[in-house]
Symmetry: C2
Subunit: 100 residues, 2 copies
DNA sequence: ACAATTAGTCAGAAAAACAAGACTACTCAG
DNA sequence: CTGAGTAGTCTTGTTTTTCTGACTAATTGT
């Protein structure tokens, strides 16, 4: 496990790779997301993968986890400022994929 | 195998995922690359993975494969215009990974 | 009391990605 | 003729990623 990486973008690229991360990120753009909501809405999603994706996105400081109410358990994930800064890059990626 | 993907960026993101693709892309920025050169220069690279990466990058229209001389076998891969258009995005990704 | 929802975790299986080594096929230098 | 370089492919095996189903633990609805 050595990581003397000559390519800085690679790390960032990795943080958004994974089957559901781009999808989750995308939904988070439109507002706070929750675990079970993602599970329902994302086609082919499974608990484990969504849970791991959320955890990693949180660890990477892209999403912020917040317990809204503990009584009827309600947790929300929102984009952090760092997450917001990725938005423009995503928009460009999307623009690119359209006209090609 | 259905791909009615709600996330356009995901496809593009996938084209650059994989252990060596970012590295190969990066080298291609500095000039034409060749198979054995990548094999030598990229740390931990192996024939199979590099071959597959090159093939996929070519299929995705990011690299252009050209036989320079068939006699002493010499093949070069160069960035296509589509590949070029990814450069700015990469630069932003790198800028981002620095100040975070 | 019983079912459903919330948000997970855990163990094991299945699938996908990656790696190692043998092999093809052709050219060039000695 | 032999060894080295070019650019791969093919088969097999390992490692990583993803998926499935069972389980926890609490609350709300019927």
């Amino acid at each position: 496990m050595e990581n003397e990486n000559g390519c800085p973008a690679q790390a960032l690229l990795k943080t958004l790779s994974g089957k559901f991360k781009p999808e989750i990120f995308r939904k988070a753009l439109q507002g706070p997301v929750r675990f079970s909501e993602l599970l329902r809405d994302i086609d082919g999603a499974n608990k484990q993968s969504v849970a791991v994706a959320l955890k990693e996105l949180e660890e990477q400081g892209i999403l912020h986890k917040e317990i809204i109410t503990p009584k009827p358990l309600h947790i929300e994930y929102t984009l952090t400022p760092k997450g917001q800064s990725l938005v423009t890059i995503f928009q460009q990626l999307e623009a690119l994929s359209l006209h090609l």
